[in-house]
Symmetry: C2
Subunit: 363 residues, 2 copies
């Protein structure tokens, strides 16, 4: 089985590291000669929308998947004419547009923050009145890690913001004073079987994921799975999809989905029987899904901008270093650390130890 | 850190699959264009004794290691003049010669079967009298998986055997009516720290490893570690070394060592906190050693000659399929399966299930 991944970053790299053992080999379509996934597969170095790149992908693959959602729609359509492509063009279309995504949540009865579609400054002024302030305004497509969004606190923040964000379609979201952000990684097979990892609680710093802690037996697990399943089924989705929720008390509001493996699931490599990368590729390849059974105490820290104290880190039993072979750069995710420690007290101690060994540079 | 591995088979492949995450990248010196490790590193396709190959290894590496013991001594010597090479030439020299190895065991007070050095048919006739029959006669170098050896039961088996085995130096070993074969994977760092995995019980079919079952808390663990430590320290060894023992009652007889990661340790990928491949590379790279802490019930089956029923296998929770991307061929190791299952009854049931899914072709 040969699988091509559109995108050759760390997500593709980890798909290959987890699935070469299943007899799968990988190619990566990526315009960068430095794409870090090429360590574990063939690099098809072309732009995402180039015909040469698309032809090369089709020539060498049995099936195709993606490591990011903003793949050109034309690329997906062209490949899908020749080969099975998962997730589907339709799923990508919904998930890469914040309005489509929120509208789908609404249709399926999934709670969200109040929102409005913004195509003009007038729409923005209106939403500030009807939904109210504070609010968050986001580009409908292409944003991640806090890019392409702005917090609106006062009316003066609203003025001129449409132009400031580039005059592109925006989504206005009423501010939710949430208690925490939870995410749920789910996977669905071609036959419609769904499996879910436990909810994880995510802590951000400067809008970038800093730390995720697995929440085994969370009281909102069933609701999180129910919401996820309704979206997966509605889209007839195949592969891993990630659901980001805001929790306020016992309420769960869907924030957004990512139609792919996700940073907040990297802990599953050591923390679950079958990790998110393997389960995604199992779904894409048509293999049976793997178990999402998870160890008792599991957490993940990102390594951002600068390497951590790797020698000290490697001396902590149960701490797993994952460096992506990317150069250091302010605010760039260059690695992560997973901690698995069955003893809860030791787990908490080691969490503090790891945190102290990070040299993250968020800029 | 760039590490070159002499040999590009599944052992090198698994070193890379376990250690790319540590920020290490790999090259493999192997004469075969099909060397399966090239999936996860650069292939330096040259003969093991070619100057071009040696030059290429030196040019691209910080440190060098091996995935098999019969590397030409000249190759090791030439590389070692330029770069740190682990294990050392001295360790390889001892471990690849069954006489040197047995002599070292004897010197260190480690029990072995009675043995004799055989350089002529006369030596062989003499040994059959002094040590007695039955016995096993083995080539001093290059044998593995039962190749280059013969069981001698009667005097007629002895006649002509020296010529039959190629007229090369042989080792005569008195037959040990052992209860089982155990192996111990050990690792030693440059600073002399040693760590040990639990003993595993190995079951062979037609002289090839069929199955290994981890023996946590085995009463002979301490003795196995003591023997191993004495050899590692004597050789000032760096890296993973594997010790094969015969057990008879509460006696442990050293059979042989392999100066490398070993088939009977593949279970450690999922069964231990830090696997044998990562610990070997940690030792070679000068990183801190990893924990050898092992899950309760762990076993390994080899996939030999023909693929197993992979779809059924992937449906068993806790069964991990590892295919090496090698073509099917009678008696060729093409993959392995690890089982980790905390519940002992389920573990036993799943062992039987996996065994039934194998289609091994031993010829």
């Amino acid at each position: 089985m040969k699988i091509s991944v559109v995108g050759g970053g760390q997500l593709g790299q980890m798909m290959a590291l987890s699935c070469i053992k299943l007899g799968v080999s990988f190619s990566f379509l990526d315009p960068s000669k430095d794409a870090c996934a090429q360590l574990v597969g063939d690099l098809i170095q072309h732009d995402y929308d180039s015909q040469e790149g698309i032809d090369a992908v089709i020539a060498c693959s049995d099936r195709v998947t993606f490591e990011f959602e903003s793949v050109p729609a034309q690329t997906v359509a062209k490949i899908a004419k020749k080969l099975p492509v998962f997730p589907s063009a339709k799923a990508l279309e919904v998930a890469r547009d914040r309005l489509f995504e929120k509208t789908l949540f609404q249709k399926l009865g999934i709670q969200t923050a109040p929102f409005a579609d913004i195509l003009t400054q007038q729409d923005l002024d209106d939403a500030a009145k009807t939904i109210g302030l504070p609010a968050i305004i986001k580009t409908r497509t292409l944003g991640y890690d806090g890019k392409g969004q702005k917090v609106l606190k006062t009316e003066s923040d609203v003025a001129g913001t449409f132009a400031e964000l580039g005059g592109v379609p925006l989504l206005y979201e009423g501010f939710v004073d949430f208690d925490d952000e939870l995410s749920c990684i789910a996977v669905r097979s071609e036959s419609g079987e769904c499996r879910f990892y436990p909810l994880v609680q995510n802590e951000h710093k400067q809008s970038m994921l800093h730390c995720s802690v697995v929440q085994n037996n969370h009281p909102l697990q069933a609701l999180g799975e129910q919401y996820a399943k309704s979206v997966l089924d509605e889209l007839d989705y195949v592969g891993v999809m990630t659901f980001e929720y805001f929790r306020k008390g016992d309420q769960l509001l869907a924030n957004e989905v990512a139609p792919r493996v996700h940073n907040s699931g990297h802990w599953s490599i050591e923390g679950a029987v079958c990790d998110q990368f393997e389960n995604h590729i199992r779904a894409v390849a048509g293999f049976p899904l793997g178990s999402t059974k998870t160890r008792d105490n599991v957490a993940l820290f990102n390594v951002i901008g600068k390497a951590c104290d790797e020698m000290a880190l490697m001396s902590i039993e149960g701490a797993y270093l994952h460096m992506y072979h990317k150069s250091e750069k302010v605010a760039r995710k260059i690695g992560h650390i997973t901690l698995v420690e069955d003893d809860k007290d030791l787990f908490n101690q080691k969490m503090a130890q790891i945190e102290a060994l990070l040299n993250n540079d968020l800029g």
